[in-house]
Amino acid sequence: MRQERKPAPSGVRIALGFIAAFGVTGVLASTTQSLLVLAALERAGAAFPFTVRLQVIAHDIVAHLYGGNLSYGLYILFGFAIAFPVAALLRRWLGVSRLVIYPLAGAACLAAILCVISLNFFYNMTFLEGTRGVSGYLSQLLSGICGGAAFALIAARRA
């Protein structure tokens, strides 16, 4: 006889969704930034074997999420803590699909973070060197979209 699985309580799902969103966004944002930095160095004449690339990606994920005076991970954590509840309210009012509203919230969150960091950073200087170009900036927004989608799929699905 087939047993029906009991759905996880909403608090647990939200927590899992939040962790997944943070992980997905953090890893994607850091990795794309690392790859763009390496690509720029390659154009300047450097060469990076595959193992060195992996080392850089791993180092930068740790540095971005845990290290530094300006922890990118901390910004993402606080950003999502604001963005997702706001998205939930908007979803209720506007009746928009969760797979639209949370990814949009993730992207808006990353855009706001980059803006806030640049305002608090030195004049006209970019905190994440990979975001000096449009593609780098868009890659950060895309990372936010993916994180938002992860949250929508895990936390906001119907019980």
Binding site: S30, Q33, S34, V37, A40, L41, R43, A44, G45, A46, F48, V52, Q55, V56, H59, D60, A63, H64, G67, G68, N69, L70, S71, Y72, F121, F122, Y123, N124, M125, T126, F127, L128, E129, R132
Partner: protein, 365 residues
């Protein structure tokens, strides 16, 4: 104006490998309240010139009395960045009175470091002409570089920073960003510069691969040229630069970016030079001078570097094959040091960044 602030100070704090005895230091304040001072230049006869980044050059003839020098070109000064930078005296200054100044020119979205020269007499800079402008322009005000030093052959070197946002340009031989450039004393390009453009003409580039070099010095005895530069988070460097060589930025560095991520995973990279010294964590070196017949014979030949972040004057004695001897001076003042320069009187002139103080350090009388 406030009279002399005098303190006899034995303000040495031992750093790595320091072995020298505590030297007697007599500190007096020549001026206070200078507005974002950047460079100090003691002149023959006791007069001292100081550049202020907002665009003023001041002359200090008497303790506590600073007078603005007329004739300074308009500079780009915005948001505490850029502005009037360094100055250098022509090697035959006593004959021709040529004073060279470097400054940022243009506007926020397209600016570049320029060198102008004029004849400095009686508190005025006259016959001012722009002799060189860095290209390409940049859309940032950070990392101008702009330190000046004359070579023995009377050509002029200037450091050019990478503009922060353009760090890979430091490896581009067609860009002057992130380079040390070399020009003649009237702004032409010397035929023996190491690189040529596509049409076979010499470019201004003398060395490549610099980030934000804020110290440039030629040793008059050995003719070695020293350059130090800011790293990002760590990786400040002191180098001896040689014609045509590549000093690595951003392919190799001991620093990481402000986010903590790698700038490059390499500390050394084939084809680039290793630094003589690197400071990690950063001390933010700014200004460099050398004791040659200064008031402390025991320091003959030693380098002295101002430290903004480290808030000290760093004495460095280079030793072949071993780590250099380093000693922190004036550290207990807790002030960011923007520039240092020995005068003809053998005293050390020190410029404090935030307080706008100009100090004269001499041996205890």
């Amino acid at each position: 104006m406030r009279a002399i602030l005098q303190c006899t100070a034995c303000l040495l704090v031992a750093a790595s490998g320091a072995v020298s005895a505590v030297a007697p230091l007599h500190v007096e304040t020549l001026a206070e309240g200078l507005d974002k001072p950047f460079a100090v230049m003691p002149l023959p006869g006791g007069e001292v010139l100081v550049t202020e980044k907002p665009g003023r050059l001041v002359s200090i003839r008497e303790r506590g009395r600073a007078a603005a020098v007329a004739g300074i070109p308009r500079v780009l000064w915005e948001g505490e960045y850029a502005g009037l930078q360094d100055m250098a005296l022509h090697p035959r200054f006593s004959e021709n009175r040529f004073l060279y100044i470097s400054y940022v020119h243009g506007h926020r979205d397209a600016n570049a470091v320029r060198i102008a020269r004029g004849r400095y007499e009686a508190g005025r800079l006259s016959d001012v002409e722009v002799i060189f402008t860095v290209s390409p322009t940049k859309a940032t005000l950070n990392h101008p570089g702009a330190r000046l030093a004359f070579m023995k052959d009377e050509t002029l070197l200037m450091t050019v920073g990478d503009g922060y946002q353009y760090r890979e340009a430091a490896q581009d031989p067609n860009s002057m960003l992130g380079k040390v450039v070399r020009i003649t004393d009237d702004g032409r390009l010397p035929a023996d510069n190491p690189l040529e453009d596509e049409s076979g003409r010499p470019t201004a580039v003398w060395t490549l691969g610099h980030r934000h070099p804020q110290g440039l010095l030629r040793d008059p005895v050995t003719n070695r040229v020293y350059v130090h530069e800011h790293g990002a988070k760590g990786g400040d460097e002191l180098n001896v630069i040689e014609r045509g060589k590549n000093y690595g930025w951003p392919l190799a560095t001991h620093g990481v970016s402000y986010s903590g991520a790698y700038i490059s995973p390499y500390h050394v990279y084939p084809g680039t030079e290793r630094p003589l010294v690197h400071w990690t964590p950063s001390l933010a070196p700014c200004g460099i001078t050398q004791c040659r017949s200064c008031q402390w014979p025991e320091w003959e030949g030693d380098l002295f570097i101002g430290m903004l972040g480290g808030k000290q004057v760093r004495r460095i004695r280079l030793r072949d094959g071993t780590a250099p001897e380093q000693e922190a001076l004036l550290a207990d003042m807790g002030a960011r040091v923007r520039d240092v320069r020995f005068g003809l009187d053998g005293a050390l002139y020190v410029l404090h960044d935030e307080t706008g103080k100009l100090l004269r350090i001499s041996r205890r009388p």
